[in-house]
Symmetry: C2
Subunit: 320 residues, 2 copies
C-alpha cells in the first residue's frame, strides 16, 4: 500500500461518537479487549440486555433517550442485585439508513447518564446489518462477596414490596402509540427513561429481589417460583402514579402486566419493615407493601380487594 | 391469575437450549445478573463481538459451527491479550423463522467448544427481531495484572510475526460462495472454525499483539499506528497453507486483506526470537517472521520480494 493507512469507516465511527465515553480500562477503544480491575475485595456482577428497534423502542423515539433507556435497563439489573455500577460494553448493529446525527444524539444521552450514574464505557463492537438497529449492552457492577440479592431467597410469610409506581411505562407506550391521552407527559417520559433504583442498600434487609421489567404479575411469579413459594398480590395496593390513576380503572390490568417498570420487587421479612422504610427514605424512593409470599398458594393470586381474584389475560410480556 | 404460573416462552427457550451450558456464577440463568469471582490476584479482560446473519456467517452455515465461530472469534481477542478464558454471556436476537432445531445444534456446538477451551456460559438475553439473526457474545478472561499484551507496545526494529497461516478464512468464504474450488475442504473449514491461539504465554516475549480478523495489512496498520510506527511486510514471507497455495498467486491479495484469519500478529524484539520459537513449539503452533516495524515508514509498505511494493485495492475489511 504505502502511505499512512486511513482509518476504516468503522474506526472513524467509533472515534467520532464513542471515544468521549471511554473510561479507564477501555484502552482508548482501540485494543482487542478492555481491562477491568474490580475494587479490592468485591465480587463482580455482569448482565447483558439487548434492544431491537420497533420491539423495545420506537423508531421515532428521541435517540438520546434510546441510549439512556438501554443503559438504565441494565443498571436496573444491577440495582436488583444490590450492586454498584462499574462500566459497560456496547454492541451497535447498525442499518445503513441510520445516520450520523442519530448516533451523535444517542452517544450524548449515554454521556449524560454515565456522569449521573458514575460509570464509563469499557469497550464494544460496531457492525452493519440489513435489518433493524440492534443495541446490546453488557453491564458490570460490583457487590460485597456473598451479598448479591437473589431471586430465590424469599421465605414463607415475607411481605412483597415494590419501589415507586407500577404501570407508567406500559401506559406510556400506549400514549406514544396514540391509544391513551396524557397531557402531563409523565407516562411517555417514564416509558422512555426508567429510573433504576440503585444505591438503596437493601442487602441484609430484603431476602430476595428482582427488577420489574416484563410485568409485575409475571415477574412476581418468577420470584415465587425461584423461591419455591406461591404469593398473593392485592391489586388495590399496587402504587399508581397520578397520571396512571387519571387513565382510569380500565387500564389496571395493563399496569399489572405491561412491563417496562424497572422498579424493584422485594421480599422483605415483616420484622425488617422499619429498616426497609429507613433505607427507602434515605434514597428518596417510595416503597409500598402489595402482598405476601405464601407456601400454601401455587403461583400468583391477584386479589381484587373485594374478596375475589382478578382474571388477567396474560401475566406479562415474553420477548419471544 | 391463580394456579401455577407457566414459564413464558422466552424462559422455556433458554431452559431448553442453554441451561446445560451454564457455569458457576450463572445462577441457573434465572437471576437478573451473573456473579463473577476473578481468580485471586488476576486482572479481568472483557470483550464483545457481534455476528449478523448474511454479514458474518452464511444463512446455510451448519448451526453448530456458527456458535463455535462466535465463541472462537471472542477467544481470539483473549488470546491477543495473553489472557485465559473465564466465561461468557450470550445475547440471541432471534427471527421467528429460525427454528428450534437450529438452536439445539447451535447450543451443541457451543457445548463442545466450552469443554475444549475451559469456560462456561454465565448469562445472556434472548429477544425477538423482525430482522436477521444477531448473535452477540461478551467474553471474560483473566490475565496477570499489568501483563496484558496491547496493540501500542511495538518498538522500532521489532520483527513482525504471525501464527499459523494467513488467508484460509477469506478463501474459505469464496469457496462457500462458489467462487473458488477446494476439494480438500480445508479452506471452508477454516472460515467456519477458526482456531484461537490461546495459551502460548507470549507475555514478556511479544511487545505488542492483536488478532488478525479484518485483514492482515489493515490490522498491521492498526498495530503500527497504535505504536506510533510504520512497518513493512514481505508478501512472499506470509505463511500460506497448501490449500491456499493451490488456489494460485492471483489470490494473494485476498489472503493479505481478506480477514477471518484469527491468527495472532505479534511485535517481537529480535533478541526474543528464541523465546518466541520455544513458546510456539510448546503450543504446537507455527510462527513466521513476515516484516519489521520501522519508524522511518508511514503506514504499512507491502513488499513484493523483487524490490517493489504491492498495490492493494483495499487494506482490509470494515464492518460499516
Amino acid at each position: 500500500m504505502g502511505g499512512s493507512a486511513p482509518l476504516p469507516s468503522e474506526f472513524r465511527f467509533i472515534r467520532r461518537h464513542f471515544s468521549a465515553l471511554a473510561g479507564e480500562g477501555a484502552l482508548g477503544l482501540t485494543d482487542d479487549a478492555a481491562l477491568v480491575r474490580p475494587p479490592k475485595g468485591r465480587e463482580l456482577v455482569i448482565a447483558v440486555d439487548t434492544m431491537v428497534e420497533s420491539v423495545h423502542f420506537l423508531p421515532d423515539d428521541p435517540p438520546d433517550t434510546v441510549g439512556r433507556k438501554l443503559l438504565r435497563c441494565n443498571l436496573s439489573d444491577l440495582a436488583a442485585m444490590d450492586a454498584t455500577p462499574l462500566g459497560y460494553l456496547l454492541s451497535v448493529t447498525r442499518p445503513h439508513a441510520r445516520g450520523e446525527d442519530w448516533f451523535a444524539a444517542f452517544a450524548a444521552g449515554l454521556r449524560d447518564d454515565q456522569a449521573h450514574y458514575g460509570l464509563a464505557l469499557l469497550g464494544g463492537d460496531t457492525t452493519a446489518t440489513p435489518g433493524p438497529l440492534v443495541l446490546s449492552l453488557t453491564i458490570l457492577g460490583h457487590v460485597r462477596p456473598g451479598g448479591a440479592l437473589r431471586r430465590g431467597g424469599a421465605r414463607d410469610g415475607d411481605d412483597i414490596w415494590v419501589t415507586g409506581t407500577i404501570g407508567d411505562g406500559a401506559l406510556g407506550l400506549r400514549v406514544l402509540r396514540g391509544e391513551l391521552a396524557d397531557a402531563s407527559g409523565v407516562l411517555a417520559r417514564r416509558y422512555r427513561l426508567p429510573e433504576p433504583r440503585l444505591g438503596l442498600g437493601l442487602g441484609g434487609i430484603a431476602s430476595a429481589a428482582m427488577d420489574v421489567s416484563d410485568g409485575l404479575v409475571q415477574d412476581l411469579g418468577h420470584l415465587a417460583r425461584e423461591s419455591g413459594l406461591g404469593a398473593w398480590l392485592d391489586a388495590a395496593s399496587v402504587p399508581l402514579s397520578d397520571a396512571a390513576r387519571r387513565a382510569g380503572p380500565g387500564w389496571l390490568p395493563t399496569c399489572l402486566t405491561g412491563g417496562d417498570d424497572y422498579e424493584l420487587l422485594l421480599a422483605v421479612p415483616p420484622d425488617h419493615e422499619a429498616a426497609l422504610r429507613r433505607a427507602a427514605a434515605r434514597g428518596g424512593v417510595p416503597v409500598t407493601r402489595i402482598g405476601r409470599f405464601d407456601r400454601a398458594l401455587k403461583g400468583v393470586e391477584v386479589r381484587d380487594g373485594a374478596g375475589g381474584t382478578l382474571a388477567l389475560d396474560r401475566p406479562g410480556w415474553s420477548h419471544l
